[in-house]
Symmetry: C2
């Protein structure tokens, strides 16, 4: 099978030969090249690695439903309760998760780490909804589910047991959240999280909103457990909005420790990005960083639309990147950066100039999209996209909805 007339990472017009779902050859584009009828016409578009959304909450989304005014009270607990009071008014979780995942795939995402909220109110209902979306799209995207204790592990009865059940039933990652500010007992919280990780031999992903040095304190507790349990390479910190908002020596130490323990990071490109650890320095230190869309038009926030290219623009914008190399690095992070979190065997980014994913030997997980250059494509966010997973077209000719 051939993908004809595409420009890998903005390079020369090429034809890609696909064998067994992988790129077997990258050849100069030749309009006269023989074609068995199964080829994809790239029409001169860019061929880019498809997106990996490493931090999204499929189960909370209301994308495509009538818009609902925001009623959340501030803070994690207030927003969690706002969701709890209303989510049963919506169509079933499986319906909403399946619809959003389909939309994400149409726009170029083929790998997902989705949170599935586990709490005393919803039990495993949301987890099962995310499982249904994963199953519905299993040929189009790879979905890894995190069992996520959104309302804490200690505040309500039975949550660790529900987490344990989810991990025995298809959840692949153990989630944790704000060890200090939510459960207010960081040691107990983290002991449960890492205990479940040990029992299920699963990686850990901690959702960290805590400010300044409190966030650093929680992070240090996580680093300590990662080292003690030999979990190098298996721990992700999500958000970590504030780890760059303390003294420079501390943030430098954290980057070094993250590299040393192979802690990965998931960012959602927040408006307060300037308080986070600096992206380019994380990459240069060899720390795996991925991008995610977080909650999308849900009880938490009206933002988000299932489009990782929009979010890639947001990553560039919030980092105030202007040089093309850095803007294009955002696509590398949003695609292969995240992929290396979900599959640590994949090569990681170590330079902002790395442009992986469209070479001989790579899985043909691709987005074809218009753009003079990759930076132009990030700015323009064109809608004429063709999405391939393992060399097979899984979405084409996106119509704006």
């Amino acid at each position: 099978m051939l993908i004809r007339n595409v420009r890998p990472w903005g390079g020369d017009a090429s034809d890609l030969q696909i064998l067994d779902g992988r790129i077997a050859a990258v050849m100069p584009h030749d309009p006269a090249r023989a074609d068995d009828g199964s080829s994809v016409d790239g029409r001169g578009r860019l061929a880019m690695p498809s997106f990996s959304d490493v931090h999204c909450h499929l189960d909370s989304n209301r994308v495509g439903l009538p818009f609902r005014p925001h009623t959340g009270r501030p803070g994690v607990w207030g927003l969690t309760m706002n969701d709890r009071e209303h989510w049963r008014e919506d169509p079933p979780v499986a319906e909403r998760t399946t619809a959003l995942l389909g939309r994400m795939i149409e726009r170029g995402t083929t790998r997902v780490r989705s949170y599935a909220q586990i709490d005393a109110d919803s039990g495993l209902e949301r987890f099962e909804g995310v499982l249904a979306a994963k199953e519905a799209h299993k040929d189009r995207a790879e979905v890894e589910i995190m069992a996520f204790p959104q309302a804490g592990l200690l505040l309500e009865k039975g949550v660790p047991e529900l987490m344990d059940q989810a991990l025995a039933s298809g959840a692949a990652v153990v989630g944790g959240i704000d060890p200090c500010t939510l459960d207010k007992d960081p040691v107990k919280h983290l002991d449960i999280v890492f205990g479940l990780a040990e029992k299920h031999q699963a990686p850990v992903d901690i959702h960290l909103h805590e400010p300044g040095h409190l966030g650093v304190f929680s992070t240090d507790l996580i680093l300590e457990r990662t080292r003690a349990l030999g979990m190098q390479g298996k721990v992700t910190l999500s958000h970590a909005y504030e780890l760059g908002n303390v003294d420079e020596a501390t943030t430098r130490r954290l980057i070094e420790e993250f590299a040393d323990l192979d802690i990965s990071m998931a960012t959602i490109a927040p408006a307060q990005q300037m308080h986070a650890l600096p992206l380019a320095e994380l990459t240069r230190a060899g720390v795996r960083v991925g991008l995610g869309e977080d909650g999308q038009r849900d009880y938490w926030s009206p933002y988000g639309n299932g489009d990782m290219l929009d979010r890639t623009w947001q990553l560039a914008f919030t980092n105030r990147y202007r040089p093309d190399e850095l803007i294009e690095h955002c696509w590398a992070v949003a695609s292969r950066g995240g992929a290396a979190i979900l599959d640590p065997s994949l090569e990681r980014l170590t330079s902002t100039a790395d442009r992986p994913g469209v070479s001989v030997g790579d899985a043909a997980d691709l987005v074809l999209v218009d753009g003079d250059t990759v930076a132009a494509a990030v700015m323009d966010r064109g809608t004429d996209r063709t999405v391939l997973r393992a060399g097979r077209v899984v979405a084409d000719q996106l119509q704006l909805v």
Copy 2:
């Protein structure tokens, strides 16, 4: 003439009667209402006040041209020189300004304050290019031109004289820039700016990138001159990125003084918005604030696309607004907030709940756009737009380009 079946600010389906370019009546929508054949079919879309872009650089844009990698060196001088070294490689200024202004109108902007760079290199050539765009679209948008000394007033010979010529030839506003960090002689810089303002009886708009307390120092010099020359209501501060990044007492004092001297502000919704003066507090203090798109895909930055609805989303995002009232306030700022800077006789916003511009007596300067609610429209940024100025359709059925 009628605009049928629209929802003003998200309200009930209505028919708007237009007389002499103004809204003469807002009536419940009645499909059977008599029609002389000149009506506009709103198709149930929102009817919103059209946008006012109060801070854009029409003359520097490269929108629609082949994407050019960013070559700017950091800092205002480095970026100015990058532009100077390359801008003559592009099509004539008049062509580029006219094309972008047309695109801005298609997306819903009908009022513009555009910078026209005046410097020793370009003389009046850029100013004349902006003048040509203003003339080309004179029936579709109102354009106010600022004579803007991008490379300073003191560093190169003859700039004040060029500014004087521009102000005698159609420029309506005197620009200034970073009194301390660019010319490095704030008193001389501001004396020239305010001297030209007095001579031409023109308002002043100062482009302020200066950090922290240096920005406050320059601002205080500007406030002093505003008071001494009786220029209340005629001075705008643009950018002022950093006036919220000092001690709280100082930022509070500045907001009070801006209200007292009727200083207005133009923001471009930068990524570092959290360092600026707080938008909602400015509004509540009665300070006029408008939104602008700044440079758009130019030698300074690859961002910007002529779409003020995108920029309105950016204003909400960078302010981390989630409640609907605040998100909708961003549209009020982007439309009537800016309009009150360009025409101080217009009513100003004094509450984040103000929803002006679509009532009996208002000029029929409107955008019709899809949206369940106004906040949903800001999130979705739909492309099916009809734009009216003074009751006349000036753009319709936007096709994505």
